[in-house]
């Protein structure tokens, strides 16, 4: 491992002899400029919490109400800020409560360093109290994990952890530290940031011949189509990406994870891909002649049936992770590398074009989606409120500047379809894992990661009850988070599938909810429940204007369905606009 000298010793902990492993952990965090930690204490991590006690000023520790809340908060923090999220949890149940969040961060490439306490090294393997084999449990859901049993290892292992979590394609790292190592006193030589791990390639080298081949394909294309994912955001390559699509005049669609990397109203933007994405980009995926995929991984929710996916097109795939190339969709030209680096090289070689005729095809499809569906969704004049119109009014009020953190289900799809976003890192959602219960803690974390921004958690009545204990965290630490519950009295997305594919047999999807407003008030959080169109705008405004956190529950249409839809097992061009077409 190569490291950079860093003279942080005196500043942070002020000593070198008889330094405890725990203090070395704290020093590592301070040296990495970590300011916020989400966590929950317990027996096996008490020495670290004891060391933390003296660093209240420099390290802001947020005590959550459940370790799952801690890790989702750290994810929200990382997603909104681009910094690495840090989590503390104790051994056994504390560590196992991180599992869902680790899996979520792994599949959505979120940089995290999770530090778990572990029983004394001499007790490993004895079924000691709160001993769980956390390394083996978390191996498939971490980018890297490691168990420390000797304090001497701590500085180097944590340096490695931070480097691995944030470099290349980011991901969660878990470091399990036995209690003896936390207590152990050792001669501390200081913290050195890691810049290289000899067996690890953060980024593949960029090869010009592939850039040239890609440019040639793009220049010769009659119907080129760009689809992009979170890679553009993770690479901080928003500007480079815009320069690329603007020069070549390319119609561009985003995945749910890529959303907000370009403004949602950008003239070259043709909408969202995926099962509930927009009609045009899904349909026309099967009409383009060159498909240019940037920082995305061809998830099955994006491709639909693979043997009916873009078969007519030549595929250019830009990705930092070689394992993504050819994994699901065979590429014609693979451009490996960080798109921050590869996009400018490509931009230099592409010709300026406008593709006016090709854009018209998108316009026609958009027109069809709008008249058949969007208008009704966004501007209904009678009946119960729809999720779409809530989003529509919210857009008006926020002007697309808020961070929208969604849970999982119909409201998530509606929010991602209709939310207006003008800044990158505005759309925070559990894309790959689809974790219900994500939104509330992730929104808390997002607020700590971007205190200057408005953060709105949008949840269903089901998901709202899945990590609702985190209202306690809001009560105690007072992040200003707006909570918008779109209550359809159902586990809506599952109910939709039951309606469409299981003959309306609503097996356990009618879910009852507590009085959310009363519940919020028990946590000293103001709130309101509405169900009428007339109240909508004023209530949303009241929520946004409220100086502290606020919960607004909106009763919406019970049995509404999200369309368009690419039914499972169907190709993207088989996208339907209504249930009659299924």
């Amino acid at each position: 491992m190569e490291t950079v000298e860093q003279n942080t010793l005196e500043n942070n902990i002020g000593k070198t002899h008889n330094v405890s492993g725990s203090l070395a952990v704290i020093d590592a965090l301070l040296s990495e400029d970590i300011t916020t930690v989400f966590g929950y204490p317990g027996g096996a991590i008490m020495p670290i919490y004891d060391a933390l006690y003296d660093f209240n000023d420099s390290l802001n520790h947020i005590l959550v109400r459940h370790e799952q809340g801690a890790i989702h908060a750290a994810q929200g923090y990382a997603r909104v800020s681009g910094k690495t999220g840090v989590v503390f949890a104790t051994s056994g149940p504390g560590a196992t409560n991180l599992v869902t969040g680790l899996a979520d961060a792994q599949i959505d490439s979120t940089p995290l360093v999770c530090i778990t306490g572990q029983v004394f090294a001499h007790l490993l393997g004895t079924d000691a109290f709160q001993e769980t084999d956390v390394i083996n449990i978390t191996t498939p859901i971490t980018k890297w994990n490691y168990q420390v049993t000797d304090a001497n290892e701590i500085p180097e292992v944590l340096a490695k952890a931070f480097f691995i979590a944030s470099s290349g394609r980011p991901g969660p790292v878990l470091i399990d530290i036995t209690k003896n190592a936390q207590l152990q006193l050792f001669d501390y030589k200081g913290y050195r940031q890691c810049v290289h791990v000899r067996s690890y390639r953060a980024e593949p080298i960029v090869r010009n011949e592939y850039i040239e081949q890609a440019a040639k394909l793009i220049n010769e294309a009659k119907k080129p189509f760009v689809i992009f994912g979170q890679g553009v955001i993770l690479g901080n390559a928003e500007k480079e990406f815009l320069a690329f699509i603007e020069k070549a005049g390319l119609p561009t669609a985003w995945t749910i994870m890529g959303m907000s990397a370009i403004p949602t109203n950008h003239p070259l933007g043709v909408g969202m891909l995926g099962m509930h994405g927009n009609y045009g980009p899904n349909y026309l995926t099967n009409e383009c002649d060159v498909l240019i995929a940037v920082g995305m991984r061809f998830d099955d929710r994006v491709t639909g049936r693979l043997d009916k996916y873009a078969k007519q097109a030549k595929v250019v795939h830009l990705d930092i992770d070689p394992a993504e190339i050819d994994k699901n969709v065979a590429t014609t030209v693979a451009v490996w590398g960080n798109c921050k680096e590869t996009l400018p090289l490509l931009t230099a070689l592409v010709e300026e074009k406008t593709h006016t005729e090709w854009f018209k095809e998108f316009d026609i499809k958009k027109e069809k989606e709008t008249t058949q569906l969007i208008t009704k969704e966004l501007n209904p004049t009678e009946g119960e409120l729809t999720m779409g119109e809530v989003l529509n009014v919210l857009n008006e009020l926020t002007n697309g500047e808020a961070v929208i953190v969604t849970d999982v289900g119909q409201h998530q799809m509606v929010a991602c379809r209709y939310a207006k976003q003008t800044k990158s890192r505005s759309n925070i959602t559990s894309g790959g894992l689809g974790t219900m219960g994500f939104a509330l803690p992730a929104a808390i974390g997002a607020k700590f990661g971007a205190p200057e921004r408005e953060v709105i958690a949008i949840m269903g009545d089901g998901g709202a009850q899945m990590n609702i204990q985190e209202l306690g965290t809001i009560m105690q630490f007072k992040p200003n988070v707006k909570i918008l519950i779109l209550n359809n009295s159902f586990l809506g997305m599952v109910r939709q599938w039951q309606e469409l594919f299981h003959k309306k047999r609503y097996s356990f999807t009618d879910i009852q909810s507590p009085n959310f407003v009363t519940l919020a008030s028990a946590y000293n959080i103001a709130g309101k429940q509405i169900s009428k169109r007339e109240e909508l705008k004023a209530s949303l405004k009241e929520m946004l204007d409220h100086p502290e956190s606020y919960l607004l529950e909106v009763a919406v249409l019970h049995e509404d369905n999200v369309f368009p839809m690419v039914p499972q097992g169907k190709g993207v061009a088989e996208i339907v606009l209504s249930k009659e077409e299924i």
């Binding site: 691995i164 067996s199 690890y200 390639r201």
Partner: protein, 195 residues
């Protein structure tokens, strides 16, 4: 078409690494034909030799997933014509039968087997070779009261003239963020691996 692929994995020698590699296969419900681990010729670097019977496409994805493991340096993927490989087998046979039956001795000579231990009650033979050779001897010895048999996993040497060793070591010297070898290998497999 499914065929045998031998993967040679160079990695750090770290607790838990075997598991990190093994779960890449088990997650995809892919059976390992054979799995061997040993120190490599490079100090502190380990070498795994893994045999799977899968299509080129599946194996390519497996290779990339294994290379993604932080502690793995490099994975080489070779079909049988690109490697020299051997397995070792031990056979335990009653000594009384061998003493009596001259045919057995002939057999052993024919298969190039060696005696490892001779006791009053049994004798242990060792044979090195590929599947067929080991199996044929097994079949024969079975007729003479074979007591016990064990076969090792495959170990393989890559025929390529360019040293694998050097490539792995080069990784340490290169610009830490980059991996030219990685790209080059995947793009010009034939050049690197033809005899």
């Amino acid at each position: 078409m499914k065929q045998e692929h031998t993967l040679t994995v160079y990695s750090e020698n770290q607790v838990g690494l075997l598991n990190k590699i093994a779960i890449i296969f088990s997650r995809r419900k892919i059976n390992l034909e054979s799995f061997n681990s040993s120190p490599s010729e490079i100090e502190k670097i380990y070498r795994f030799t893994i045999v799977v019977k899968e299509t080129e496409e599946v194996v390519r994805n497996l290779v990339r997933q294994i290379e993604k493991i932080v502690d793995v340096f490099k994975v080489f993927n070779n079909t049988n014509d690109e490697i020299i490989w051997q397995q070792i087998a031990l056979y335990k046979v009653p000594t009384s039968i061998i003493m009596k039956d001259a045919k057995v001795e002939r057999l052993l000579r024919q298969f190039g087997a060696n005696v490892v231990v001779i006791r009053n009650d049994y004798t242990v033979f060792e044979a090195t070779g590929q599947d067929d050779e080991i199996n044929n001897l097994l079949k024969e010895l079975d007729k003479y009261g074979l007591i016990e048999f064990v076969r090792s996993s495959r170990i393989a040497i890559i025929k390529s003239s360019e040293g694998v060793h050097k490539q792995v070591l080069d990784m340490q010297k290169n610009d830490p963020r980059k991996s030219p070898i990685n790209n080059e290998y995947l793009n010009s497999k034939s050049k690197i691996f033809q005899m």
